[in-house]
Amino acid sequence: MSDDIEITKTMDLKGMPCPMPVVKVSKGIKEVEVGQVVEAITTDPGSLADFPAWARTSGNEIIKTEQDGKTIKFYIKRKA
């Protein structure tokens, strides 16, 4: 569980295939302040590789990844 992480914004990206999750999250992260956390929920298995790649390139940080069956939750801290 991620009770210890304070989430500012939650994005439901379930059912969206590439490139939508990354495109949406790149917009969504700009809607929170630097230091705040976005929770992004996806069902695209490719996002397990894509989100870390996106975070490294865009200079943001994935502080936690949770997987429950087909659902993947990313907790992303806005850094840049």
Partner: protein, 191 residues
């Protein structure tokens, strides 16, 4: 005992070396490519155009700038099906009729099977929530993907500017404009 004159000369030599290095670094900075992706969209097939748009929109998400240069078979994809062009010659009319009028008329590069394959792929894309070309184009516009259209291809196939889509950042140009962008890009693709 050291000679102060020699020391001063050494310092002066070092200073001029530093200035030289600095100007070299400045010159190198100018040639450093920016965080940009330049793409030639040569194909006019549904699958290839889809790939081009996925990469273009994805690159903006990755914090890059994206430029798409539509040429040859890629050009008719940017026609607006609702718009009408003015007078055209016979060849222009022929090309106009035979080539897809906009994103909704493009076909698969393989397994088209007289349109059946394309229809199946489109319904599959819908079922699997994959964005259609129309949605992709809309998203690209919203994300600020810049589109360039090859003027030579347009002229060759008899397309007029007034029959092309309304797009926020569209420029009709030649190869030099594309090369200027490509030269300044980290990634260049030909699709």
């Amino acid at each position: 005992m050291s000679n102060p004159d020699i020391k001063i000369n050494e310092i002066k030599a070092l200073e001029s070396q530093v200035a030289e290095i600095r100007s070299k670094i400045e010159a190198m900075d100018k040639t450093k490519p920016s965080n940009k992706l330049s793409m030639v969209v040569f194909s006019g097939d549904l699958d290839k155009i889809l790939a081009a748009f996925v990469i273009a929109t994805g690159s903006v998400a990755m914090g890059m700038e994206a430029v798409m240069f539509f040429t040859f078979w890629g050009t008719p994809v940017l026609r607006d099906k609702k718009k009408k062009a003015g007078k055209k010659d016979v060849m222009g009319r022929m090309f106009g009729a035979m080539l897809p009028k906009g994103t909704c008329e493009v076909k698969l590069s393989k397994m088209n099977m007289g349109g059946m394959g394309t229809a199946m792929m489109k319904s599959l894309m819908k079922k699997k929530n994959v964005a259609s070309l129309e949605q992709m184009l809309e998203m690209a516009e919203e994300l600020g993907v810049r589109i360039f259209v090859c003027e030579m291809s347009m002229d060759l196939m008899g397309f007029k500017r007034e029959e092309m889509i309304d797009y926020k950042d569209i420029t009709f140009c030649g190869v030099a404009k594309f090369l200027e962008e490509a030269k300044d890009s980290r990634i260049q693709l030909f699709i």
